[in-house]
């Protein structure tokens, strides 16, 4: 597959007299293949929006390489801008214009036919409210308008930053369907979101960023598999036997975490070996469940942003791993 979006070693450094030097992007890499829905994940302040803004020419990078549709940026940005639809961060529109005016002005600036405005208004469900001023819209309606503005060009690459923000459950489902439809019709979608369940549901691949560097990338299932760690939950008939079972399993080389009413094992290739090992000790298993890892837990693990009781994590407290340690299938 050909890459629609390529980023290599992207750097952006902010210098401030008060706060010193901060590397918003520290050699960031990303690759998105054509026709995919690609999730772009990262904690707050990790560099997601900086990446998107840099890609779209709003921020000047300090180094690195970027390309969209095979054309080098930012030099070729004016040439490819017509094929890239984007919304960055929260939707912002002139509050006293109607949705139709807003899109009409953009369409005129982009030399697009007027009927395209009606098409995208229909697509995002704003047809009947298109004549109302944007300031009367809810956040979800503004979000729909933002998506409409990004779709107006019928782009080959659609970049959406938090598109589900403010949407009601029905709207989120509609958005999910829309992303799928667009992807099936050949559009490549880059989706930045914190709703990781959604990302897992609709994305073919993901890139996870932390402190300005890529910490994981690849097809969703590969990223999940790479971090599943063979976890198994074990319950015994008698809770009082948990410590004896933990000892036996530890001696057998299994990593064990003791919880109040069960054990969490990791590094287990075959769960059946656990039940056999415990049976040999006269301990009888009442539950033996392989624990499926989800994107949220992988994300929290990779970015080290899982909440810790009694601690208040600060925005920049997340993990940055060496790039040689990244997981995933393709890229770079």
């Amino acid at each position: 597959m050909s890459a629609v979006l390529e980023i290599e070693g992207l750097r952006k450094t902010y210098r401030s007299r008060k706060r010193g030097v901060r590397h918003a992007l520290d050699g960031f890499d990303m690759r998105v293949e054509a026709g995919q829905v690609h999730g772009f994940l990262g904690p707050n302040g990790s560099g997601k929006t900086t990446t998107l803004r840099t890609l779209l020419g709003l921020i000047r990078p300090n180094g690195g390489r970027m390309a969209i549709l095979g054309q080098e940026l930012p030099h070729a940005l004016p040439a490819v801008a017509g094929q890239v639809g984007a919304i960055v961060e929260s939707p912002q529109f002139f509050p006293h214009f109607s949705a139709r005016d807003t899109l009409g002005l953009l369409a005129q600036a982009g030399e697009l036919p007027r009927q395209r405005v009606d098409e995208v208004l229909e697509l995002v469900g704003l047809r009947d409210r298109a004549g109302e001023r944007v300031k009367t819209y809810s956040l979800g309606m503004k979000q729909r308008l933002a998506v409409a503005s990004a779709l107006l060009k019928n782009p080959k690459l659609l970049i959406l930053d938090e598109p589900a923000n403010g949407l009601d459950p029905g709207g989120i489902r509609e958005m999910r369907g829309l992303m799928r439809d667009l992807s099936e019709n050949g559009m490549t979608v880059v989706l930045s979101s914190h709703i990781l369940g959604e990302i897992q549901l609709i994305c073919d691949s993901v890139t996870i960023i932390s402190l300005g560097r890529r910490v994981a990338f690849g097809p969703v299932e590969q990223v999940l598999a790479a971090h599943s760690q063979g976890s198994v939950r074990v319950r015994l008939e008698a809770v009082s036997d948990l410590s004896q079972a933990a000892d036996a399993l530890t001696r057998a080389g299994v990593r064990v975490a003791t919880e109040p009413d069960h054990l969490m094992l990791s590094g287990v290739d075959k769960p059946a070996t656990v039940s056999r090992l415990l049976a040999e000790q006269g301990l009888y298993v009442s539950e033996l469940t392989p624990v499926a890892v989800d994107l949220e837990s992988v994300f929290l693990e990779l970015t080290a942003t899982a909440p810790v009781p009694g601690q208040h994590r600060q925005v920049d407290q997340s993990a940055k791993v060496d790039q040689t340690g990244t997981a995933g299938g393709w890229g770079a």
């Binding site: 803004r53 801008a81 984007a86 960055v88 939707p91 002139f94 953009l106 600036a109």
Partner: protein
């Protein structure tokens, strides 16, 4: 071209533009209407009445003068000191003269188009310039503030082209508005002069002079609009331009005046911006230094310093170029976050 037309449309659709246009038209219409009531066309009867009043006042003054002399002489005859009360020689030297009671002073006000319209061109230019400043600043400031500029740059990722096109759309609008409203303004005052004033001595040369005044007025409106636009673009907020305008006014009109007065700078007003505005509209502004007067040697003839409209053009030109270069440079260099 499509971007230019889009920006023209965007500017026209903006609420601030429409509101300010309504206020501008209402304000100008109010000034013209109110002024038309203050002018009165001089009829032969009004002239005769004024001449009669002038003559009457002259006769009254003469009678009073004679009565005062007689009263003084009587007092002198009684051996009283009359000088303190009546002045030397019983005030005979202060005989009222006919030219002290000119009939024209007794006439009602009549608008003279030839002599007075240039002042109204300045009033018009100041009004349109204020409109241009606010609309220009808001046009780019609100776009930055609401994210409109960022949206536009996602469509047209050529920063200088986008900013330049916006500026061109603004200046085209202000130009068109100045020409159209200026024509209406001229027509209104011509009508006032025709119906309730005087249009005498309007030669081709006078019209040419008025035309040049109009061109300078047009230049001022475009300049102020462009500076407002540039300041708001620099600060990425409408308030930046308005704040800068207030700051420049305070520094120039108050701060510099106080500073030059304290330092005793000769012709200190040549450092004040309003002197150059005055010079721009009136072709020149003459400054006087009364400290050079030698009153002991008779009538004072203070030293003078002339500020010409060409000097004003240089000052305003430098300000305009400086503001625009800064705005475009920051547009090119600064991140949009």
């Amino acid at each position: 071209m499509s971007l230019f037309v889009t920006e023209l449309r965007r500017l026209g659709k903006r609420r601030v533009t429409r509101l300010m246009l309504v206020l501008l038209v209402l304000g100008l219409a109010t000034v013209a209407t109110a002024f038309s009531f203050s002018s009165e066309k001089l009829s032969p009867a009004a002239v005769a009445e004024a001449e009669a009043k002038a003559n009457n006042d002259y006769q009254t003054a003469m009678t009073e003068w004679k009565r005062t002399i007689a009263e003084c002489e009587a007092a002198a005859g009684r051996g009283e000191n009359t000088e303190d009360r009546y002045g030397p020689n019983c005030g005979k030297d202060y005989q009222p003269q006919p030219d002290m009671f000119e009939a024209k002073w007794y006439l009602p006000y009549q608008f003279d188009f030839r002599a007075e319209f240039p002042l109204f061109i300045a009033v018009f230019a100041a009004s349109v310039a204020l409109f241009g400043f606010i609309v220009g600043a808001s046009f780019v400031g609100a776009e930055w503030n609401t994210g409109g500029m960022m949206n536009l740059l996602l469509w047209r990722p050529k920063r200088l082209t986008v900013l330049g096109t916006k500026l061109a759309a603004l200046l085209t609008t202000v130009f068109g508005l100045t020409v159209v409203l200026g024509a209406l303004w001229t027509a209104a005052f011509w009508l006032i002069a025709s119906q309730r004033g005087s249009t005498a001595k309007m030669t081709g040369g006078v019209w040419q002079s008025i035309g040049l005044d109009g061109l300078r007025a047009l230049g001022m409106t475009l300049l102020v609009a462009a500076v407002g636009f540039a300041l708001a673009s620099l600060g990425r907020h409408t308030a930046m331009a308005l704040g800068a305008a207030v700051g420049i006014f305070a520094v120039s009109e108050i701060g510099i005046r106080i500073a030059v007065a304290v330092l005793g700078v000769q012709f200190g007003d040549r450092y004040v911006l309003s002197t150059y505005a005055q010079s721009w509209f009136l072709k020149q502004a003459e400054l006087f230094d009364y400290d050079t007067c030698q009153f002991s040697q008779g009538a004072c003839e203070p030293a003078t310093y002339m500020v010409t409209w060409q000097q004003s053009a240089v000052v305003f030109g430098v300000a305009l170029v400086g503001a625009l270069v800064a705005a475009f440079w920051t547009m090119r260099r600064r991140d949009i976050s």
